[in-house]
Amino acid sequence: MGSHRDLPAGMVNHIFTNSGVSSFTEFVGAYAPDLLPGRNETLAAPVGDRIPHATTIVAATCAGGVVMAGDRRATSGNIISQRDMEKVFRTDEYSCMGIAGAASTGIEMARLYQVELEHYEKMEGRTLSVAGKANRLATMIRGNLGMAMQGLVVVPLFAAYDPEIDGGRIFGYDVGGGPYEQQQYHSIGSGSIFARGSLKKLYRENASPEEVVLTLIHALYDAADDDSATGGPDVTRKIWPVVAQITADGFHRLSDEAVGVHVQTVLDKRMSSPDGPVAPLR
């Protein structure tokens, strides 16, 4: 895209004369840098436990796509600060991200990332490749490293449908960026070690999206079972995990009713075997 430097002198508004990168983040960085996350002044002391933290996100590929699910609990230290938090965000028609860690920074990052992808698409007339999207998110996390050192750590999990392979792809990150592409399944957050153990036993290659939804709900149940910061299904308040499914048909967030049915299946099974399904030994 060429520079618009030859525009008439009257047209000094940056919105029009900015010489045309298609990145929203770079544009905001030049136009109104204070709007960017991670540009705040560093804090005197780590704020760690005082702000809400989001916990466990799980994702696994299914036949023709990928499914991501997140529990609903946000904690500040030992306090449960929110019971119905959303941690899985639609980032564009074919991708989503889940956040674990400092909720405030995570939500801000998800919002910015969503605009970033959409902005590129509108400016360029094409969507970014999956690798392009994953790398873009890595750059944002790297930009937040300073805040991460102050206790505002946020680690996302990124999942997308890739038309090239007609299947789902999952990317994990560390606080320094990444991205690390994960085969089959991945989990982040404080309950992730338990969730990952569960996924390892329950994951089946090329399972249908429905089966993968069940697998993920089992994994979240196991995470909540052993991690105090991860919320299990809230039966009395009817608060279920957020489940998002991405296939060739695009992003689809399952309705509460649909997730409720799956949760009930899992709960029923757990009534008789509290530790969940058993994988065959041989």
Partner: protein, 257 residues
């Protein structure tokens, strides 16, 4: 009076004439309301250079005139919309705000620079009902016209608008609206542009998140055949499958290359 003096009135007239001539050279674009939103139609043989584009969730853009000039306006509009939606909330981005920004810039360029922009643009926003739709037409000098129902601009704009008025009424179905647009864009006795030479998009109020949808390929062809079939006399309520609220096949929410 110094040699070569040109009065401000004369300068403005000259610039306006110049801009009008530039715009009149191009093809027309029509924008009209239909049952479920706003339809944009432009004869445009290029598959990569768009005259119609998405600006934001509920806001579309159509332009005629000089490509590099309205492309700069389009990109600026997207920046404006994205930064405001990010800074405040997505619902705070309105076509009115965008039209004001364009008016400011076009007006300033028209008065201050040697050469005015040779463009005419439409900024349209789809609301929850047709009463809440907004269609703003902006001319090269920064004038804003708040339009209802239909707009035609570009070469032969007046003749096109007259033909469009013949066929337009409130609450047209998508196929009927497309038919009206094509009737208006075709000179009497002329040949209709084929589907691959048409740029068609809608702002469909029944869609979620991003209402803008480009119609092309098989979906456009189906709509075109549907629209040329003469409506049977006691119209057996054309089993109007709901307009494309969900993408079929390739999802194309934005502008594709």
């Amino acid at each position: 009076m110094p040699f070569g003096y040109v009065s401000p009135e004369q300068q403005m007239r000259d610039k306006a004439d110049y801009a009008r001539k530039g715009i009149a050279r191009g093809r027309s674009v029509v924008v009209l309301q239909y049952e479920h939103g706003i339809l944009f139609v432009a004869p445009n043989p290029s598959r990569a250079l768009h005259k119609i584009s998405e600006i934001y969730d509920k806001i579309g853009f159509a332009a005629v005139g000089r490509y590099n000039e309205f492309e700069a306006l389009r990109l600026g509009g997207i920046r404006y919309a994205d930064i405001n939606g990010y800074n405040y909330a997505r619902d705070d981005v309105t076509a009115r705000g965008l039209a004001n920004l364009y008016a400011q810039n076009l007006g300033q360029i028209f008065t201050e620079s040697m050469k005015p922009f040779e463009v005419e643009i439409v900024v349209a926003e789809v609301g929850d009902s047709s009463d809440e739709d907004h269609i703003y037409r902006l001319t090269f000098d920064g004038s804003v016209f708040d339009e209802t129902g239909l707009v035609a601009m570009g070469g032969q704009a007046e003749a096109v608008a007259a033909r469009l008025k013949e066929r337009y009424r409130e609450g047209l179905s998508l196929a009927e609206a497309l038919e009206a647009a094509l009737f208006a864009l075709t000179e009497p006795g002329g040949e209709r542009p084929p589907a691959d030479q048409l740029e068609v998009a809608v702002l469909d109020r029944n869609r979620t998140h991003r209402r803008f949808l480009r119609l092309n390929g098989p979906r456009l062809e189906r709509l075109l055949t549907e629209s040329v079939e003469p409506p049977a006399a006691p119209a057996p309520a054309p089993e109007q499958d709901a307009p494309p609220t969900a993408p079929e096949g390739d999802i194309d929410t934005g502008s594709d290359a």
